[in-house]
Symmetry: C2
């Protein structure tokens, strides 16, 4: 088994349905491509105690934790105090971050912007691979990586540090069935039982596609995934439309 | 205060980044329009024990719980056993549901499809407003409403029962600022302190829009939201680009 991850989206605007969450989908796709299995996504409000509870729980349960949102200078930006509380740390003004805030905002700088440079004591500043000291770093405490909520910035910052997270690949196959789920369920049960190391999913379609069910087979052992796929195709016989 | 809700998306395919989650965004928008506040969204794998834990926790914490996914006939459809376990109920074959499964599948019916008619004893069958007994109902246990994962079907079924959830409206306003967050943070603090019953959010923009920050003001008391908005506009003065 490889590394697992939990995604914590701090987003009142997503809970209220005003804005679609783009960040968790992006991170799920990218992390999977890097070989990291996302096991849970939670969208929570910008309430400090709720963020603290979720960060602590995720940090204990998953190898990697990614948060998005709540790191600006206004009253609803409480991610850093919440993360500090989760780890029993104090918030301190980091000189490198203060410099970056002042330099990036120039004449637009206000005292309140210093709140963005106030991070838990002992936080790591990840300047990317290769490092770029003039760029705002990704800031991490233990296994918790704290990202901004604006999707474009989150994507740029993730790209700068993505190699930190690379693990062995996850192998995925798909088989398309012209028979419906009720007809192939027993076959799926048999393949699931025979290949316990392969995760098998069944996704019905109700539109006019050429198949009624897409079956996915995923795992870290390429040979096991290939064997399970071959076995499934053999058992489904004429029901197979195509495979990927 | 009005009713709250938690959304539980049972979706291995969303965690693995293969499919974008459309259901939680749809439900968040619709519930808000009905006056229900979504306070948490969780995407979890199709592991029975995890679903049971989340259903129990959500059911205790929120007025309404909505699940999507995991109610078909295959091995990865474990939502019903999980919900039954959360409430200490047995699963029973409901004759009305068996009839509907057989009628809707016709010649395509297989014994495994009966799994879809196996629901917790005492589950309520909601046939919509007005009721349509020939349609597959929305099935509920206590305050937990169980929906399918296919977005098109989830939307249709939600529409059939939406009036069950209608509550008093949530009033929302927005003010757009040409000044950045650092410059207006103290003003926001003052308005937040003066109007504790109004939820105020601050959302920066980094593109070339006509504003740098969108400020949202939401609450159940229309007069309080209007007063808070007027106060904010007065304090921001020339920084206001427009309001909604």
């Amino acid at each position: 088994t490889g590394p697992t991850a939990g995604l914590l989206v701090i987003g009142e605007e997503i809970l209220s349905g005003k804005v679609a969450d783009e960040n968790s989908g992006f991170l799920a796709r990218e992390l999977r491509a890097l070989g990291v299995e996302v096991r849970r996504i939670e969208v929570i409000p910008d309430i400090e105690a709720e963020i603290t509870e979720a960060v602590r729980r995720f940090s204990q349960r998953f190898d990697l934790v990614f948060t998005s949102g709540g790191i600006g200078p206004t009253h609803d930006d409480v991610t850093w105090p919440a993360v500090a509380a989760a780890f029993g740390m104090r918030l301190v003004l980091r000189p490198q971050l203060e410099q970056l805030v002042r330099a990036s905002l120039g004449g637009e700088f206000h005292a309140r912007d210093l709140r963005m440079a106030l991070v838990p004591e002992g936080a790591r500043l990840e300047y990317g691979v290769p490092p770029d000291l003039n760029r705002w770093p990704v800031i991490a405490v233990a296994n918790v990586y704290v990202f901004p909520g604006i999707p474009l910035i989150l994507r740029r910052k993730f790209d700068s540090v993505r190699e930190l997270y690379r693990a062995g690949p996850i192998h995925g196959r798909a088989v398309y069935s012209r028979e419906g789920e009720g007809n192939i369920a027993d076959t799926l049960d048999a393949v699931v039982a025979e290949f316990p190391g392969v995760a098998i999913g069944s996704y019905p379609r109700i539109d006019a596609a050429d198949h009624k069910v897409k079956i996915t087979l995923d795992g870290r052992d390429a040979a096991a995934v290939a064997s399970a796929t071959a076995r499934l195709i053999e058992m489904l016989g004429a029901a197979v439309v195509r495979k990927e």
